[in-house]
């Protein structure tokens, strides 16, 4: 009796094991790994990016999965904003068999993780906007977010159209974003007839901008505009001290200041103009996304990074449909040839680029603590400075 019971139990277990294996095989799975910073200095970008991506995957799976072919699963490893931890995370994810990899929102850790993804032939996306990232890694690395060069071209167009002739650049050598981006702007601005009349440098995290402010105050003639890509906490400190010293020169900025922290600074940021990946104008895809994000998570999408994360799922889906396959190499080829894919943020094109998305850039002006939409620019290849 006991023996019989044992045998039945064994058969039952075997049956369950068998059926679950069969089930696993029949419902195809597309596994994505996210080596993203959920803590540390990059968390302000990667946390919202991941939240948006998760929603994107959920929507994708509800519509039949990626390319209608497979259910997407996601494995996340926190990189703690540490490059060594990022490398370990990327290796672990690839060992776990992911077919696509999301790397952190900054060029340095993404270059490190990219070496592993490139060698394994796994296509990659991230929130980093540094255009030097794709040549540093290779043909499996893609940038979806408006790159520093694309944004700088849009900002230069805005500056010349506004009638600015001279610009002052504030840079920090501490990151590519804070040093090269203003240079790209200077290059694009000069191409359009403007000139750079001076520049100053700061260290990230420095609380005191009095020297920079006195330098700007002492310029004769005063520049038409100040361009910087400083972000928190440096930008709030700089703009408070600049306006506090009575300097009224217009300031133009980049996407990284598009946060409630900066908008909440009060009258000192009134009139500051910035570039952004998109703007939730009424009826736009981003407005619909923001609404959906709030319904789903219970809190507002505070930045454009949520939508930029969501967009990855749309880009992947478009690539899979184009490739008709989920093989990493085919997904890579399809991604590289995408043209005018409509996402929540706008139309994205990779065809003819070095895997750096050609796309719209929104120009925004901060008024009364709120971002207001000015204009959409779509820089041409000629306008975009070379990285």
């Amino acid at each position: 009796m006991n023996k019989l019971r044992y045998a039945t139990a064994l058969a039952g277990v075997a049956a369950i094991a068998l059926s679950s294996t069969v089930g696993y095989l029949s419902a195809a799975e597309y596994k994505i790994g996210a080596a993203m910073a959920q803590t540390g200095a990059l968390a302000p970008y990667d946390q919202p990016g991941l939240a948006g991506f998760k929603l994107g995957i959920k929507d994708l799976n509800a519509k039949g999965g990626i390319g209608g072919m497979a259910t997407v699963t996601l494995e996340v490893i926190d990189t703690r904003s540490d490059t060594a931890a990022t490398v370990n995370a990327a290796q672990k994810l690839i060992d776990d068999g992911v077919q696509f990899l999301i790397t952190p929102g900054d060029a340095d850790p993404s270059i490190a993780a990219g070496q592993i993804g490139q060698a394994a032939g796994i296509p990659m996306l991230n929130l980093a906007g540094s255009p030097s990232l794709t040549p540093a890694v290779g043909d499996y690395m893609f940038i979806s977010y408006p790159s520093d060069t694309v944004q700088s071209a849009a900002l230069a167009s805005y500056a010349t159209e506004t009638g600015y002739k001279t610009a002052f650049l504030l840079k920090s050598p501490d990151s590519a974003y804070t040093s090269k981006f203003p240079d790209y702007f200077g290059e694009a601005f000069k191409k359009k007839g403007g000139s750079v009349v001076g520049e100053a440098s700061y260290s990230m995290g420095q609380p005191d901008f009095s020297a920079v402010v006195s330098q700007i105050k002492g310029l004769a003639p005063q520049p038409d505009v100040i361009m910087t890509t400083a972000y928190e906490p440096d930008f709030p400190a700089f703009i408070k001290q600049l306006r506090g010293a009575g300097v009224k020169i217009p300031v133009i900025e980049s996407d990284a200041i598009g946060t409630p922290t900066v908008y909440g600074l009060g009258s000192v940021v009134d009139g500051v103009v910035q570039s952004s990946a998109g703007f939730p104008t009424p009826g736009s895809g981003m407005e619909a996304f923001n609404k959906r994000f709030k319904e789903e998570t219970g809190h507002d999408a505070e930045t454009s990074y949520e939508a930029a994360g969501y967009e990855w799922a749309q880009l992947l889906d478009a690539a899979a449909r184009k490739a008709g396959s989920l093989e990493p190499a085919k997904i890579r080829d399809a991604l590289a040839s995408l043209e005018d894919v409509q996402t929540v943020l706008g139309k994205v094109t990779y065809a003819g680029t070095e895997r750096v998305a050609l796309r719209d850039v929104a120009i925004i002006r901060i008024e009364g603590g709120k971002p207001t939409f000015l204009k959409l620019y779509r820089p041409t290849k000629e306008e975009i400075p070379n990285p």
Partner: protein, 294 residues
């Protein structure tokens, strides 16, 4: 006139460093702990400012809440993390404080937000005052006044009150103070409370300058405070204050000599000056006095 401007900048930046270094020194002199979680006390004070401003409390109450909250957090930090480690070595204590600091940061990132929060301090606080053609920002002015008040207040406390005298004695010879029947834990808790209070005041000044609070903001100030405390002589209270002003003077004073090419090396140049200073005075400018028993 430019000289006066530099002097104002030195006093305001040096003042913040002095308050922070003093907070580190007061705990170190008594417990032998270099509290690297001191910066997180500032972050806590910052979040309390954001929270109480959102409740619409009047500014003086907001600032009081921030300072008292930081003081209370410092006492709790001691009670939870450091008291069980009381007899541990300086290194163990320091590593514990790194642990506390990391735990706090992760709690802020996952419990509050990884993103910074804007601190909407009143507009007048970012304005300027003009005295006969000379402009001074409200923030530097507040820094100088608050630092002076805090230092004078602390000096009176340490000289005139029994607890203050006990603390000064404890910083020189802790065992002797215990033998004389003073409660060790009260003295230690008070030192943490004062260090928290100083962190709270420093946080108000630091935040009014930067305009936002984020989970990782405590790192830079605590590093500066540590350097200032070393310059002054670790564990010496007067030394910490002097060290703060010296560091402020080095940072602000080096500005006019830096070009666009050398400006990125400002911290390196300042630290090099500190190294040279320590070569001449290895115990710092005003070394701590220690009771030596044979």
């Amino acid at each position: 006139m430019e000289f006066v401007q530099y002097l104002v900048n030195i006093l305001s930046l040096g003042g913040i460093y002095a308050l922070l270094a003093l907070g580190l020194a007061i705990v170190f002199s008594i417990v032998g702990l270099i509290n690297f979680a001191h910066g997180e006390l500032m972050t806590i004070a910052g979040y309390l400012i954001v929270l109480s401003l959102s409740f619409g409390l009047p500014l003086p109450v907001v600032l009081l809440v921030a300072c008292l909250g930081a003081a209370l957090s410092a006492v709790l930090m001691d009670r939870i993390a450091f008291r069980p480690m009381r007899s541990a070595s300086v290194t163990t204590l320091m590593i514990t404080s790194f642990g506390v600091s990391t735990i706090c940061k992760v709690l802020f990132q996952n419990g509050v937000s990884a993103r910074g929060r804007a601190v909407a301090l009143p507009e007048w606080m970012s304005g300027t005052l003009t005295f006969g053609g000379f402009q001074i920002g409200m923030v530097p002015l507040t820094s100088i006044v608050l630092t002076a008040l805090a230092l004078i207040g602390l000096d009176i406390f340490l000289r005139k009150t029994t607890l203050g005298v006990a603390m000064r004695a404890a910083s020189e010879d802790f065992v002797m103070v215990s033998l004389l029947g003073l409660r060790a834990n009260t003295v230690i808790a008070t030192s943490f409370a004062i260090s928290g209070l100083l962190a709270g005041i420093a946080a108000i000044l630091w935040i009014s300058q930067r305009g936002s609070v984020d989970p990782l903001m405590g790192f830079t100030p605590v590093l500066k405070a540590f350097i200032a405390a070393i310059i002054g002589g670790l564990g010496s209270l007067r030394g910490a204050v002097l060290g703060g002003f010296v560091l402020g003077a080095l940072e602000v004073g080096s500005e006019p000599f830096l070009t666009i090419g050398t400006a990125p090396y400002r911290d390196a140049i300042v630290l090099l000056a500190v190294v040279l200073l320590l070569l001449v005075k290895p115990d710092g400018l005003l070394p701590a006095v220690r009771g030596v028993r044979s």
